[in-house]
């Protein structure tokens, strides 16, 4: 860090810093406290979780893994997430190229189009899809309608994440490869894709976790099937069982692990592109 930046600028600098540090710690505690209680309560013996803790048990985890309805819901969520993410990753990555490199007529319109599904409240997208499927197409709500709904919000994330990577991409590498006689297909296969692969993977992982956790759009577009969040919601709404805390703990810890992983991979990508001297400077 630049020494000037750390130079005190006011006689109160020390005090300000201490106050800010305390605040930062309070904020971090605020972020993790509810999650910590949730995890704690998943081990609580009593049927009505709460303080004080009466005893610790793995009972709810045992009940969880022998609950057929729950496991079915988990399986459904995984199917939807894999299907939606696979499609979204393919079409999103493809779309990112013309969007960033100017292959389409109105890139700014397209950019707005791809940010809208992220910005608009999910309830609006869910309602619009519901009306479209049920009353225009006259289709039954099913897995396919849920996958379609998830496609709408996961694809923009892939486009933005891969697009951000492409923006910092050193085109010289492609031109050099072409200079040396590589066909466009080989440039794509051997130069471009390997370099943006970490961004594609990070986008796909985020898409999977978002899809598995998605509740609002699914709520409007799902038929008689249960996805995991829908199952958890009905459990919470109509008679709490401590099992939900166990499910929640597994899901939260699971997604955190996946996200930590994707973040590390994206960091790796930044370092690699830093090494080969990316000129765009999109990464940090």
């Amino acid at each position: 860090m630049d020494p000037i930046q750390t130079m005190p600028v006011s006689p109160y600098a020390r005090l300000v810093r201490a106050v800010l540090r305390t605040w930062a710690l309070v904020v971090l505690a605020f972020l993790y406290l509810p999650i910590a209680f949730l995890v704690l309560f998943s081990f609580e013996e009593s049927r009505t979780p709460g303080l004080p803790i009466t005893g610790l048990t793995l009972h709810w985890y045992e009940k969880m893994i022998s609950n057929g309805i729950l496991l079915g819901a988990v399986w459904n969520s995984i199917l939807v997430a894999v299907a939606a993410t696979t499609l979204a990753t393919i079409i999103g990555t493809m779309a990112a190229f013309p969007l960033v490199r100017g292959g389409i007529r109105f890139p700014n319109v397209a950019r707005i189009l791809f940010t809208l599904p992220i910005m608009l409240p999910g309830a609006l997208i869910g309602v619009a899809l519901l009306l479209f499927f049920r009353r225009v197409l006259d289709a039954e709500l099913s897995f396919w309608t849920v996958i379609a709904g998830h496609l709408v919000f996961t694809t923009p994330y892939i486009v933005l994440i891969v697009g951000a990577r492409l923006q910092g991409f050193d085109r010289m590498l492609e031109w050099a490869a072409a200079d040396l006689g590589a066909s466009p297909a080989r440039v794509l296969r051997h130069i471009v894709l390997p370099l943006i692969a970490p961004a594609i993977m990070a986008g796909a992982l985020i898409s999977v976790t978002l899809s598995i956790d998605e509740f609002v759009i699914t709520f409007f577009t799902v038929g008689p099937q249960l996805t995991l969040p829908i199952y958890i919601y009905t459990q919470i709404k109509f008679g709490v069982t401590p099992e939900v805390n166990a499910v929640a703990t597994v899901l939260l810890v699971g997604t955190m692990a996946v996200l930590g992983l994707s973040w590390l991979m994206a960091g790796q990508a930044r370092r690699i592109s830093g090494l080969i001297g990316s000129r765009g400077g999109a990464g940090r």
Binding site: M1, Q5, V9, S10, V27, L28, F30, L31, Y32, F37, L38, L40, F41, P49, L51, I90, I91, M94, F97, P98, V100, R101, G103, I104, P107, N108, A110, L113, M119, L120, G122, A123, L124, V127, A128, F132, R135, A148, L160, I161, A164, Q167, R171, E174, A177, A178, P184, D213, F215, P229, I232, A248, L251, L252, M256, L259, S262, A266, G281, A282
Partner: protein
């Protein structure tokens, strides 16, 4: 990222024959088609359908008939409860946004100014991770703290403030407010962090060298430069709350309901045209906000920071 990257920096290749060939190979419009068609079919068309339906009528046996009418909108604006709920939603969104920014700004400032880059990455990860995890569960987790048997009530009865668990913290507006601040804090923190990170803090020293007080330096030098980040934070917190029904449904009780909870009620009651009109009112508000603030909005700063 350069400041204007959200506006779409296009790398212009040098005009040599080979470079042009490579450009032609990888810069074409067709790869955009699948995603573009998907969004048109599954997003734009359904949105248009929603608008059209909001102008039609639902028959008593729940059919939608194409009688063009503004009745659905008149129904909304002539029912005081609905208008009040909309106003309350706007106030709630404003209150959550204010609290979110008030919490996030000092946090992000501390992070950028006083924490080493290595630790910044770690703390940032700690903020990002809850941001991507289950929204449903994060809202639900608060029941463990705010609920009748929750930690807060146990603490208060423990130190003798109350005799029996209070239901004050949950199933009412304050509980909804708190949980919404919690849920949307990471959006605000990320947006503000991204703009503070680009700020050159030596400018503050320069301002003070020239005689500015620290508060003046913050107000006149720092604030104008981080304004895009602040606006992005506002938008990212304010807009989703307009469509928020899950947190009120979980911790709001009957008092804490917001406008989108009405939509769910009409959805359950199969009153699809009324539902569409309510949705369009929210969508119109969102669109107006996005159009007004579009030039400041830096979506990638929040979303693509993986």
């Amino acid at each position: 990222m350069p400041p204007n990257s959200a506006g779409g920096a296009i790398v212009v290749p040098p005009a040599t024959g080979l470079a042009v060939r490579a450009k032609v190979g990888l810069v074409r419009a067709w790869p955009f088609l699948p995603a573009g068609l998907m969004l048109a079919l599954l997003f734009l068309v359904p949105m248009a359908v929603m608008v059209v339906f909001s102008l039609w009528r639902t028959t008593p046996d729940f059919d939608i008939v194409p009688d063009w009418t503004l009745d659905n909108y008149a129904y909304f604006f002539n029912t005081p409860t609905y208008v009040r709920t909309l106003l309350k939603t706007l106030i709630m969104a404003a209150a959550v946004t204010a609290a979110g920014i008030a919490a996030a700004f000092p946090f992000a400032y501390f992070l950028v100014r006083y924490v080493s880059p290595r630790w910044q990455r770690a703390v940032l990860l700690a903020v990002i991770v809850p941001f991507w995890t289950s929204y449903l569960l994060r809202a639900y987790a608060w029941q463990a703290i705010l609920g009748p048997k929750g930690a807060l009530n146990q603490l208060l009865t423990g130190i003798g403030v109350t005799d029996e668990p209070s239901r004050l913290f949950i199933y009412d507006n304050p509980g909804v407010w708190l949980v919404l601040v919690y849920v949307y804090f990471p959006f605000a923190a990320l947006a503000i962090y991204a703009s503070l990170e680009k700020f050159d803090f030596t400018q503050l020293n320069a301002a003070q060298d020239l005689g500015a007080r620290p508060d003046q330096a913050l107000l006149h030098i720092l604030l104008p430069q981080v304004r895009p980040g602040l606006i992005t934070a506002c938008i990212f917190v304010f807009i989703p709350i307009l469509g928020e029904f899950l947190t009120p449904a979980l911790v709001g009780g009957t008092e804490g309901l917001l406008i989108a909870n009405l939509i769910v009620n009409f959805f359950r009651g199969l009153q699809y045209t009324t539902m569409a009109a309510f949705c369009f009112i929210i969508a119109a508000l969102v669109t107006v906000l996005l159009v007004i603030f579009r030039r400041y909005l830096q979506v990638e700063d929040v979303v693509a920071r993986t």
